[in-house]
Amino acid sequence: MTRRGILLAVFSLILVAALVFWGNMACNETNELAPAEIREYEGVDLSSINDFRENSIKGPQEIDVESYTLRITGLVTNSTSYTYDEVLDKYEHYKKVVTLDCVEGWSVKILWEGLLVRDLLAEAEPLANAKVVIFHAYDGYTTSLPIDYVMDNDILMAYKMNDVVLPPARGFPFQLVAESKWGYKWIKWITEIELSDDANYRGYWESRGYSNSADLDESFFGG
């Protein structure tokens, strides 16, 4: 290959990259998901729902709320299954501004509204040997968190962001607000919460080289 050919290839690559970037920007501008969202809460400026980058493993999922069920399974005394309305009606709701930090380098500050995961788990009564909470999503994505983290912190399972119901592209019906964890722990389209004693369990990205603890103050590689 001549030098001119190589330069041409490099310029072509840069051109393709620029086109993809421009395409993404154009998509972000046209796909208005929720014009009624709030952008300020108690003096805190919020990001927009449209500021997220779509980086799920199989693209946005459309879940039929009529047939949707949330299952609590594994090491619990009462394995249960809820409809969407049952989840919303049964538990107390909370609001909280939390920032999602993605390993790709972007972040969004959002007002999340939802119920506490620990309230859900308390109802199911975890067994004494349950160590890990494994979240399953509609698209096959999984991630896990230590049960102590879920029980000792106010971890929300959100159904609203910036005062509007989660759009399908943002995880309807429920997204986990895994505060102080990297974005890949913030699982969307939750369908099942499983309690396990397998401390070595690794979720989708965790089994592909990302840290299992995913603490924001640590590197997201390894561990």
Binding site: L13, I57, E104, W205, F221
Partner: protein, 80 residues
């Protein structure tokens, strides 16, 4: 070929390769759903991200060398 030309050529080649790898790994992070199957699973998102992050400093060093090395060498040569 003089030493100066050899150095210049080496830097140009390294920078070219690095720019291509930098772009590919960038795509490997943001467009992993396309890049991973295209590379038969070799360039995973996490691997792409590791490579991309580790290339930042070499990229800057090579770019600076690419821009400033020849003028500096010329100036050096002129003074002596």
């Amino acid at each position: 070929m003089t030493n100066q030309q050899r150095v210049k050529k080496t830097i140009h080649w390294l920078l070219t390769v690095l720019v291509i790898v930098y772009l590919l790994t960038g795509f490997g992070i943001t467009e992993f759903r396309i890049v991973e199957p295209l590379t038969f699973g070799l360039l995973t998102k996490s691997l792409a991200q590791k490579i991309h992050i580790n290339l930042e400093i070499p990229f800057i060093v090579l770019l600076v060398l690419h821009i400033w090395l020849l003028p500096l060498l010329k100036r050096f040569k002129l003074k002596h």
